[in-house]
Symmetry: C2
Subunit: 586 residues, 2 copies
Amino acid sequence: MSVLDKINGPSDLKKLNIDELNLLCDEARKFVIQKTNATGGHLGPNLGIVEATVALHYVFNSPQDKFVFDVSHQCYTHKILTGRKEGFTDPSKYLKYCGYTNPNESKHDQFVVGHTSTSVSLCVGLAKARDLHKEKYNVVAIIGDGSLSGGEAYEGLNNAAVLGTGIIIVVNDNEMSIAENQGGLYKNLELLRNTKGTAELNFFKSLGFDYYYEDEGNNVEKLIDIFSKVKDTKVPTVVHIHTLKGKGVKEAETNKEEFHWIIPHALDSDSNSSSSSYKGYEELTADYLLEQNKKYSDLVVITPATPGATGFSKSFRKSLGKDHFVDVAICEEHAMAYSSALAKSGARPVLGILSSFVQRTYDQISQDIGLNRSPVTVLVFWSGVSGADMTHLGSFDIPLISNIPNIHYLAPTSLEEYFDMLDFSLKRQLYPMFIRVPTDNPVVHNPDFISDDYSTVKNKVEIQGEKVAIFGVGSSFSLASKLHQKLKSKFNIQATLINPRFISGLDTNLLEKLKTNHDLIITLENGISDGGYGQKIASYYSHDDIKVYSYGALKEFPDREDSSTLISRYRFSTELIIEDIKSDLN
Amino acid sequence: MSVLDKINGPSDLKKLNIDELNLLCDEARKFVIQKTNATGGHLGPNLGIVEATVALHYVFNSPQDKFVFDVSHQCYTHKILTGRKEGFTDPSKYLKYCGYTNPNESKHDQFVVGHTSTSVSLCVGLAKARDLHKEKYNVVAIIGDGSLSGGEAYEGLNNAAVLGTGIIIVVNDNEMSIAENQGGLYKNLELLRNTKGTAELNFFKSLGFDYYYEDEGNNVEKLIDIFSKVKDTKVPTVVHIHTLKGKGVKEAETNKEEFHWIIPHALDSDSNSSSSSYKGYEELTADYLLEQNKKYSDLVVITPATPGATGFSKSFRKSLGKDHFVDVAICEEHAMAYSSALAKSGARPVLGILSSFVQRTYDQISQDIGLNRSPVTVLVFWSGVSGADMTHLGSFDIPLISNIPNIHYLAPTSLEEYFDMLDFSLKRQLYPMFIRVPTDNPVVHNPDFISDDYSTVKNKVEIQGEKVAIFGVGSSFSLASKLHQKLKSKFNIQATLINPRFISGLDTNLLEKLKTNHDLIITLENGISDGGYGQKIASYYSHDDIKVYSYGALKEFPDREDSSTLISRYRFSTELIIEDIKSDLN
């Protein structure tokens, strides 16, 4: 019988001795590796924090004591210890639990969390509620060193420090963000590690925290000691522990960035995860930017700590060098304002950011970029409806970005068009250009593509027709084309097929022209309908005898739902659309 | 002849001796006071930084050297010294220049800035562009201690510290935010002031900055010394200067918060700025919350450093006490996540925030509140079209908030309805409720108001009619009523008059019913049309033979434009609307 067999909840841990706790760590680690290799997931962060999680649950009493894991991508062992071990031990239940904390799964989870740097803020709120309700329990934030670069983490620390009551912040320092850490703070963390926490110059102490350091952050016994010391503290306290990211898997310990998050079977000996059969938009973007870097001496490619996700591989970064590639760390707000200043100074910033994270910087897009008309180039990756976890959806960027004045949000429909827009933006630096990077397979080329001018909002009429006009925004253009064919083959309607190119504004000349011989408009966009492109078109024609059918996602947070389920719920198929419009076709 | 008469640009300063520079400070201060008292404006911040501005322009060479003023509400002396003194000395030109920096006014201004905590990020970008272009000049951020609580300031500092090249950050420490400073950082600033900058524990040094301190931050000679020392530095450098907010006006030195920003003639002896003839929504909200605090022991009223603007006066704060009133400092992201955690723990947070600043926290509204369905109560003040500076517009909150899943954004049309919604939110804690606080004069009451249930999206039909239906969102309801009357008196049409109450969703039952005997819908909302309520209605009816006319603001950043100009540009009057719809009325 394994130790884990005896663990059905945190209280079962209390009965174990140190040897058994060590065994438990080994067992938990084994299951984390097996499960993550099978389904994909956050390998490195979870391997580093096995011992700390066991020690936390040994010392504290969850759920009376509250743990908030920052980003919560390191919560696997926590799930194993809190009644969800089947999700790791039983392959048939591997997908039962999500990769983040979720109160619907367990009372041991306080919040749904998937974006970074929020744990301290959330814990300050928990601690305040505890004090108001005159209750007594520990509130513990567990935050990685990488997450500490986000401004909100600092805002939370600034407030936590003057809470006047107990709050514990465990800084899980594995010397890494997703990629390398960036910034002055990390020099201080290094100094603290090198001096075993004794250096006078201490970021956390400067804010007013009681400070504890444990160098052996993967040693259960030592962690139990230090957590026991701070348990029930009456003052704001930081426990800085030094852990090894990826611990237990040699490749993950060595190549920390590559094994931060893995695809299924990345650890299998016959797997070669890097050999994809084709290059995606991410890699092709990187290739393109390397070429541009030869042309423009002031190109600066910027990432807010997600270089891998946007194609900015280690070799790419090395080729560009630190003059032309800047990882600002996890801080989207700074990344956007920084880009604005570069562009205003005549340099050529290209910021790559994921759709799910661009929403962390609305104010800077509006004030620093829109209001200042800074000619930045921002590439929005991973947008659109997907089966992603509800914390990482890419369906909100259209209303977010396109309703800000002066921002041009463009949606290319092909590889050639994408690079043509990029060329235009870098060469002309005319206005703030955000590009919604396509998410489909880029191998399908258009050999007849003609380079164009994107100075003003102008839609491209791909096929001129009559009666029906179909607007296919960005990656929805392929569905628009299919619908066009179907209308032809099934109803003998030669519809007008339009690639809007610009999501952020309407080509009113074209819209006026369409009035003369069209009475049905269909819009397709791969994102939520509310506040989006289709609603603008519908509103434009709302005084006319023209019907508009707009398709997009519903306003909701779907959680790991199958793409096909979503597609049918959103009626995003030629069959369903034709069913809707049939009665208006004659 | 005054010293100022000789100053037409910063280069003229270089010819002055210390006595003349001191005289110049006195003269500049006098004009700042006179002008600000005449037009209203940021008095306290500008009075504190007169000497530092003179010293900066004496030591550095703007515009080759670049200054970025954080928030830029302290740029008056900078404007006086950079060719815009007429805006302060000539009453007929008092309104010629805006209250913030603006590159369209002068090459000495780098950016349009009005929101806080961005200056360091912007300067990191300027410095990077300088280095890429192999140029040599100083880049200087001037940031107040209050602005340092914003996460982006820290993100910028974290990056600036590892820039590897020269950047200067002047920390203008006047011991105040708009109200008191809040947070652990401020204990460290106090320690640094008390030790004249010599304390070992130093927030800035912990991040890696070279650090200089000047206690006499209103002494031109000393400031010239210290700025001269850091000029042309090759390393990231912080110059911490201790200044007196409001210096030169006794009331402003004493009551720093009240005189941070003043209304016109606040300094006139016969002025009594606090005696308004009626209480606005801000004060009435405060009165209401004081009452609720007797009922609910876990009420927490929260401000992100703008208590005065949302009615949370000093006496209000004192009455609630620190258990029930929390100023988290300028950090909207933390404020929102903190509120979420309070609400999830069963406490009753009420966050008051200005429309212009709510956009600084989209991600937290989405992830921490929407996704977690935290039953927070958020009051959005100062929304709608106004003659405000382009950096402080309140017209973007509807698309921002109402397109986030699970967030209920409500728009009351009267005092009674507002408090009824607040009652409901605090009592039921059913879902995240954001309320768009009305901005009109609240003295007009509705004696027949009946308390209601806001569990689900339901519009209120105030007058049942036919043919035409008018939706008046929140503060636009009064215009809707007027239009209703006009249609009756002029066209003998008894229109249906609707108070939508919910901006974030549609009452589809009602919308379906309207189809039976209405063919023209008019929507009015006090905010931008793009992504807003009217476009949702237009989209809803886009398959039907119903015409929809939606009125709202254009997608633009108007700058201090007269409300009446805006109202006519947006066709927001009964006359203009009737002109538009006339042909559809028969």
